[in-house]
């Protein structure tokens, strides 16, 4: 039994995965384990690395199975292997500071019922994923919040913020969930830990409904890396997104599908893979499990307009508008279609991803200018110069010198 388990499901991105492992292995924390769930076509690379280079009992490798698993199944098979009291999933091109377990310990002492801990995340594009100008983000706060459950539910199930993404965060992906909660989720939801192909939001939807107590720390403890082969990379190009969607659908096989019958916003529509997948997930969850999401449709119309306005070019904008318009016409007999009125003309921002500096307590960094920084872990170490030291967050210190 260890206190904290970090799971890294991976598929055919061994180079990034090995960097992630190396960086986490540098941690001096001892009360944690890392499970690497390899779903690659070539098992030898990680196997060799574990056998010949990585000499660290905190790490375990689950080799690929006979056939390629869908992402959700690869996540699913890690859970029975987890020995930690708390568990977290990160991507193979991400990074996490294992000292977050000290923070979880503190919160658990303060709230014995605690079942999910969320923290801010740093975002970072790997050097191979900068086809356009990119900015990394570093949230600069360090305060702890106990969220209001009703507000969180509104933001997640009803999309009440009307942004292009609903509120995420409270879940196993770049967050920590108590394993007992994961077991309860399995018992209550279709006898699986992870069910919907959009695994992160599947889990968040369930955790937000089920967790007895939740807490959020503004200080980031992990890095959402985006390498050229990652889902987030697809936001830079429609073509990349299309390829990833094709791969994603192929890997789903005969498993759980992204529902499209009563929610006709297909992730296959150009440029809408991420937006539609998340919406399809929260919609599916609320429908399947009878969770009240009244007001979602109206909010979602506004979110859809916002999503269009994140376009980089006029052509992208038109494609998104077209796709979403088709969706609204088919959705619930077209009753929401008249409210979907994105502006006729769209002017792409002239300075997309170029304005660095602080906006709303988040620092935007031109990562291409940091030549010595080449991985998410290196970027985290860079960012630590700007972040409240872990020991002060863990000790809940409130007094600082100016």
């Amino acid at each position: 039994m260890v206190y904290f388990t970090i799971c890294i499901p991976t598929r055919n991105r061994q180079r990034y995965c090995i960097e992630a492992i190396k960086a986490i292995a540098e941690s001096e924390e001892t009360d944690f384990e890392v499970i690497v769930a390899d779903n690659s076509d070539e098992p030898a690379i990680l196997d060799d690395y574990f056998r010949t280079e990585l000499d660290d009992s905190r790490f375990r490798l689950l080799p690929p199975q006979a056939t390629v698993l869908s992402m959700v199944d690869n996540w699913e098979r890690t859970m029975p292997e987890v020995r930690g009291r708390w568990v977290c999933m990160i991507g193979d091109d991400d990074h996490i500071d294992a000292s977050v377990l000290q923070l979880i310990r503190r919160y658990e002492r303060e709230q014995p019922e605690l079942e999910v801990v969320a923290w801010s995340r740093i975002s970072y594009n790997w050097p191979d994923n900068r086809a356009i100008a990119t900015l990394a983000t570093i949230p600069l706060g360090h305060v702890t919040h106990i969220p209001d459950r009703k507000t969180v539910k509104d933001k997640l199930y009803r999309w009440s913020e009307r942004e292009s993404r609903p509120m995420g965060g409270f879940g196993i992906y770049h967050g920590a969930v108590r394993r007992s909660l994961m077991e309860r989720i399995k018992r209550r939801y279709s006898d699986r830990y992870f069910e919907h192909p959009t695994v992160d939001f599947d889990n968040t939807c369930k955790v937000v409904t089920e967790a007895k107590a939740m807490v959020f720390c503004q200080r980031p403890f992990s890095v959402l890396g985006a390498c050229v082969a990652s889902n987030s990379a697809s936001t830079q190009s429609f073509e990349t997104m299309q390829k990833l969607v094709d791969d994603f659908y192929r890997d789903l096989g005969n498993g759980q599908q992204i529902q499209e019958d009563d929610f006709p916003f297909s992730p296959k529509l150009p440029g809408l893979a991420i937006f539609s997948s998340i919406a399809a997930t929260t919609w599916w969850f609320c429908r399947k499990y009878g969770v009240d999401n009244a007001g979602f449709q109206e909010n979602f119309v506004h979110s859809a307009i916002k999503e269009c306005q994140t376009s980089r070019t006029v052509e992208d904008y038109k494609l998104k508008v077209q796709g979403l318009r088709l969706g609204f016409e088919a959705f619930e007999g077209g009753v929401w279609a008249s409210q979907f009125n994105p502006p006729e003309t769209f002017t792409p921002p002239p300075t997309e991803n170029q304005v660095c500096g602080v906006v709303k307590d988040t620092l935007y960094v031109r990562e291409a200018g940091l030549e010595k920084v080449t991985t998410p872990a290196e970027f985290y170490r860079f960012a630590e110069a700007l972040l409240m030291p872990v020991k002060h967050v863990v000790s809940a210190r409130k007094e600082f010198a100016a």
Binding site: L140, G357, V365, E367, L370, F382, E384, A385, L386, F400
Partner: protein
């Protein structure tokens, strides 16, 4: 046309000067020049360096037959420079040549601008750091027009001063139009710089003749502190004593103002006090009701000390000077408090439009590299015009 002359007076710290110059010359702009005024004991290192650079944008003024005072070394640069604007930095500092673009854009919105300054960045070179050092970076990026009257009150009346007046319009880590420097020369004694403490002397003079002041919130330069720099004297008593005695030995003018019994060695506030007093006395300027603010600034100067011993020594020195200067009653305003609490950790993060962070960020090994790293977190100069 040369828009900007970046003037770097240097003495026996060639490695630092070379680091800054090398980095500036890597900028592909052609509208600036660097004038390196070498006052070192050995002329060879910088002569060789300049030859190796082989760049028309670099002008080297070699050492003269005998060592010049700092003031004289500053003075000789302007006639040798050609930029429409002039800026001075120390040899262990850094300044971004993109300042040319900031000047161009500023002139569009404030046509009569003739003096600018900007947000501050500080960098202690790694070899002199004894542990982690925290510093601050302003996060703003606006061009702000400043009223001259407000600055007059801040400088000459020490209004809202910290341990120093909150006015930094001058050539040192600021930029001043050449025509303004010529106005200074013709208005005051046919010299660009009048007092051995050149930076504050220039601030006084600039403010008297400037017509348009603009403050750019975004930092454009770095104040460096290397082993031999004056800034290090602010941390170490012995270093301060040594530096000041060398400074006195090499200066070529009177430093102390008359009837102002504050020993220069007390600290920065006393020194700036002398510069401003000397300037006022020279120009026959008489003002009242600035003394209270100055006394409060003296208290803040004591409070900058981290050692109780140094704090008490300064406090006692300032007390004595204040008493002698304005009588015992004036001491009622002098209430320095020893505030340093090593048990309270410093804040890191974002507060009051400033980011507080560890100076070791990105492992910068020079002031130039440090500026480059922080440049990735500051508003891009290229976008300034588009935001007007």
């Amino acid at each position: 046309m040369t828009v900007l002359s970046i003037c770097i007076p240097t003495r026996n710290r060639q490695i630092y000067a070379m680091s800054a110059v090398r980095h500036m010359l890597a900028c592909d702009r052609q509208d600036f020049e660097i004038v390196l005024a070498d006052n070192s004991d050995d002329a060879a290192p910088l002569a060789q360096f300049a030859a190796d650079c082989n760049d028309q944008r670099l002008k080297l003024l070699p050492p003269e037959d005998k060592v010049l005072s700092m003031r004289a070394n500053w003075e000789r640069i302007i006639p040798a420079s050609s930029g429409e604007w002039v800026s001075y930095i120390g040899d262990d500092d850094y300044l971004d040549p993109k300042l040319c673009e900031v000047i161009r854009v500023t002139k569009k919105v404030v046509p009569n601008v003739d003096a600018m300054t900007w947000g501050r960045l500080y960098f202690t070179w790694p070899d002199v750091r004894t542990g982690p050092e925290l510093t601050k970076m302003p996060s703003g990026s606006h061009l702000v027009g400043i009223k001259r009257d407000d600055m007059m009150r801040k400088l000459f009346f020490w209004e809202k001063a910290s341990d120093r007046p909150m006015c930094a319009f001058g050539v040192y880590h600021g930029v001043v139009k050449r025509s303004l420097m010529e106005d200074i020369r013709t208005t005051f004694n046919n010299e660009y710089f009048g007092h051995p403490i050149v930076d504050y002397d220039n601030i006084c003079r600039t403010l008297m003749v400037a017509k348009g002041l603009v403050y750019f919130e975004r930092p454009m330069s770095v104040f460096g502190a290397c082993k031999e720099s004056n800034t290090m004297g602010l941390r170490d008593e012995k270093v301060a004593e040594k530096l000041f005695s060398v400074f006195r030995k090499e200066m070529d003018k009177e430093m102390e103002a008359a009837d102002f019994p504050f020993p220069m060695e007390l600290g920065l506030t006393a020194q700036i006090g002398h510069v401003i007093e000397a300037f006022k006395q020279e120009q026959g300027i008489e003002i009242n009701a600035w003394e209270d603010n100055f006394i409060k600034a003296c208290a803040r100067n004591c409070e900058t000390h981290y050692s109780r011993k140094a704090f008490e020594a300064r406090k006692s020195g300032y007390r004595q000077a204040i008493k002698e200067w304005r009588g015992k009653k004036a001491l009622a305003l002098f209430e320095p408090k020893f505030k340093y609490r090593p048990d309270i950790p410093p804040f890191i993060g974002f507060h009051n439009n400033e980011i507080s962070f560890d100076m070791d960020i990105g492992g910068a090994e020079s002031a130039a590299e440090y500026y480059d790293i922080l440049g990735n977190m500051m508003f891009p100069i290229e976008l300034l015009e588009g935001r007007l």
